[in-house]
Amino acid sequence: MNSQRPVNLDLRTIKLPITGVTSFLHRVSGIILFLGIGFLLYALGKSLGSEEGFADVKDTLTSPLAKFVAWGLLSSLLYHLVAGVRHLIMDAGVGETLEGGRRGSKIIIGVSVVLIVLAGVWIW
């Protein structure tokens, strides 16, 4: 490719608008979940494998570090879910304007903050 061509959309030089922030968080939470599948499968396999394994997992989940990891994964899942539902709503043609997009971003931040706090209360 001719290197003299103008470069468009260099993400490092652009200040992200709120719609960009929520989109970026959707991606980051997706990556966290992809890495987290390993933890979840490990816990699932151990808890289903035997009664001792189940007790082990339950016991591990009482430690602050494990609670924090669980909360982090659950937060990623909740945010990813809320932002994903919004995508489906936008696919249906709702909230596709610039103003609608900004409003949608604010709504998913609000809804996920509430859910993430509730998840924290549930875990602790």
């Binding site: 490719m1 993400l11 992809f34 390993g38 396999g45 808890s47 289903l48 494998g49 994903g84 696919d91």
Partner: protein, 122 residues
């Protein structure tokens, strides 16, 4: 026209659809699972084991695992093709991107086999 060779279905429209359909399956699965755990605080091994030993749950879990595989591939592919570009990495971008996608593919395949082992091992 450039033909995509690393996306899931070689068609952006099919990938888009696969991402949406798998998302709905995953949403249903995790809302059910979280709802179940919230509704049964202090759940014991017997009840937990019985839930996953149930045939309907086994089918639901396998469906979620298949959906997860497709969903994760489309998602990680999107991220790889958006950020691991010649603009960000220079000449080695294609090699780095392919390596990253290979790692994602192998990891997801391993997750899938592991998940099947868990579901059928109980």
């Amino acid at each position: 026209m450039v033909t995509s060779v690393t996306n899931l279905s070689r068609s952006g429209l099919y990938d888009w659809m696969a991402q949406r359909v798998s998302a709905v399956v995953l949403a249903a699965y995790f809302i059910f699972l979280i709802g179940y755990l919230v509704a049964h605080p202090g759940i014991g091994y017997d009840q937990w084991h019985a839930l996953f030993a149930h045939n309907a749950m086994r089918i639901f879990s396998l469906l979620a695992l298949v959906a997860l595989s497709a969903h994760a591939w489309v998602g990680m592919w999107t991220i790889a093709t958006d950020y691991l570009t010649p603009m960000a990495l220079g000449k080695s971008a294609t090699a780095v991107r392919f390596l990253f996608q290979a790692v994602c593919g192998v990891a997801m395949f391993a997750y899938f086999v592991w998940g099947v082992q868990i579901l059928w091992g109980i």
